[in-house]
């Protein structure tokens, strides 16, 4: 089922707004001007009703599908393209980077117009609702009154849920995948250990490292290594690495790299520092930690109270211990209680949290069938 169709070469685009009136944030602070990096695939139909917003996870970016001019493949290329789960022959797919990020959107590494220097820790603390608020400006700018769907895994799923709560009148369907409606204490704990790794790096210098040649790469790589452990499962680590040694015939009896799994984590950690900003990592993990849809709404069902006419596809994975299936069941319960049209599937998988990116065949089936139903239900003309 996995096919090789690609949307081809794509160019990252930018949209800048809130120049005159800055955007108000949950913290009470304001931010502006704001630039969002985004990409689009496929074509908008005549009545602008076939748009799907893809939200990315913690370390993702706007490049979800196709190839960059220098040949880099999109992070969800398996699922976005002609004939794929998010079929670009049918849908206009938009992927937006998040504010606070470092891949073309306004974040702590951007220049603060008030000082002419990077914001660093002067950047206001943001929430998932703030991220979504900024995306709404982009959707307005693209002339899309109502999104056919908002979809994402992990932190992308939080944004998809937040979209339906913040702007229920702007969305027909949401696909929160391998995610939660409320960041658990265990998730907060992992975030904090990652942040502490960055704080502990002497090059971090309280976030003020942009003018310096040295970056807190050791801390950031360590944070990323911890993250990668949580995205896998014990079974998938056995499968991927076993107890295999890396570039050695026998134990070194030193503290060099013995095992393949160590080498994998080093590689992933180091590669991450080439494309990610340590301060962005702090801001985005904080936004995830603050995420709790029930907070300020009494209960989860109250939070969803205006979402009764929306359609949801909720998917969890049996081996995902980072966002365990019961998190998804909680949101499914709340959505059922308010009478929303919710489809839920707890897919058998050994891949842990990463399964939402790896179980391509099943996800393709589920997503495309679900989207077909949304289109039929709303009698949308795709041309």
């Amino acid at each position: 089922m996995q096919n090789t169709n690609s949307v081809g070469i794509v160019e990252r685009q930018h949209f800048t707004f809130a120049q005159d009136a800055p955007m108000r944030l949950d913290s009470g602070e304001t931010l502006g001007p704001i630039t969002l990096a985004y990409e689009t695939y496929g074509a908008l139909n005549a009545d602008r009703s076939n748009a799907i917003l893809i939200c990315h996870a913690l370390s993702g970016d706007a490049h979800a599908a196709g190839l960059t001019p220098d040949g880099k493949i999109g992070w969800w290329d398996d699922c976005i393209g002609p004939g794929k789960a998010f079929d670009t022959d049918k849908y206009f797919v938009v992927c937006s980077n998040v504010i606070g990020g470092c891949q073309g959107s306004t974040g702590p590494s951007s220049i603060d117009p008030r000082t002419g220097k990077p914001y660093a820790l002067g950047f206001p603390v943001i929430t998932i609702a703030d991220i979504v608020r900024a995306q709404r400006y982009l959707i307005d700018h693209l002339g899309i009154g109502k999104l056919l769907a908002v979809a994402g895994g992990s932190m992308g799923g939080m944004q998809a849920l937040q979209w339906t709560v913040s702007y229920p009148e702007r969305v027909r369907a949401a696909l929160p995948l391998a995610t939660t409606a409320r960041h658990s204490p265990m998730l907060i704990a992992f975030s904090e250990v990652g942040r502490q790794a960055i704080y502990a790096d002497p090059h971090w210098r309280a976030g003020d490292y942009y003018d310096d040649g040295a970056r807190p790469n050791t801390g950031l790589a360590l944070a990323r290594m911890i993250g990668h452990i949580t995205y896998l499962s014990e079974a998938s680590m056995h499968h991927k690495f076993g107890r295999r040694l890396e570039a050695r015939e026998r134990f070194g009896y030193d503290f060099g790299t013995d095992f393949a799994v160590e080498s994998y984590l080093h590689y992933k950690g180091n590669r991450f520092t080439e494309r990610f900003d340590a301060n962005s990592y702090l801001y985005i993990t904080k936004a995830m930690d603050y995420f709790d849809l029930a907070n300020g709404n009494g209960s989860l069902a109250h939070a969803f109270e205006k979402c009764a006419s929306l359609m949801y596809l909720v998917v969890s994975f049996t081996s995902d211990w980072l966002y365990p299936p019961y998190h998804s069941k909680e949101m499914v319960s709340a959505l059922t209680a308010i009478g929303a049209d919710v489809t839920y599937c707890n897919l058998q998988s050994t891949w842990g949290h990463d399964a939402f990116l790896l179980e391509v065949e099943t996800m393709t089936r589920l997503i495309s069938d679900f989207l077909d139903r949304v289109v039929a239900h709303h009698r949308i003309e795709l041309r």
């Binding site: 319960s333 209680a337 839920y344 139903r373």
Partner: protein, 200 residues
């Protein structure tokens, strides 16, 4: 799918559903009944189903289905939020049938339950003369196969309803050749292969 192609017990069950109703199908399997009811009677349908392959098949048929067991599936639905709650050929497989039946009547205005009758004369003869645990009519599942089933008969169900103060509004009895039997005759429990009850 036309009514002719539908299994006889599903066809009889479907005939109880009014056009436009809101229907919850518990243990909806591959979604055959829900799909038929949506196409033929324009119902608003929801399903609950335990098995992943069935859930995927249902989504493929354009149905709104939740994966889960019936206990968790039912708990979330508000009181009287459906016209009809259907339990088709699932009753013997429930861990807590009394609880589920009461929950069905909390969630739905009425419930429709169908099951194979272990009180059929063939079952009785099988046990009496052959000394074997009988297979329910139409359920070719031996005692050692999964899922575990608890045998029940038409009389068991009627007595349970009387005990639990559940009103049987209608009963449809299908004989071995899927033909409808005249209801409420003496010895019905002997000849019924599949029974369908509308309860309130």
């Amino acid at each position: 799918m036309s009514a002719q192609n539908l299994r006889a017990d599903l066809r009889a069950l479907a005939a109880l559903i009014q056009p436009g109703e809101k229907v919850l199908d518990l243990g909806c399997g591959d979604g055959t009944l829900l799909r038929y009811l949506i196409d033929a009677r324009q119902i608003v349908g929801r399903g609950v189903e335990l098995a992943e392959p069935n859930v995927l098949t249902c989504v493929g048929k354009g149905l709104s289905v939740r994966q889960g067991n019936l206990d968790e599936g039912l708990r979330d639905y508000p009181d009287q939020s459906f016209d009809t709650v259907v339990l088709s050929q699932t009753l013997p497989y429930l861990d807590n049938p009394a609880f589920i039946l009461c929950e069905m009547l909390r969630v739905g205005r009425r419930a429709v339950v169908s099951f194979a009758n272990w009180g059929h004369w063939r079952c009785r003869l099988e046990l009496l003369f052959m000394g074997r645990s009988p297979l329910a009519p139409g359920l070719p599942q031996a005692w050692h196969a999964s899922p575990r089933a608890r045998p029940l008969t038409v009389r068991d169900f009627i007595e349970f309803c009387a005990h639990a103060r559940i009103t049987i509004a209608r009963s449809i009895y299908l004989g071995e050749s899927d033909r409808a039997l005249r209801a409420a005759r003496l010895g019905e429990n002997l000849r019924v292969a599949v029974a369908i009850f509308e309860v309130r």
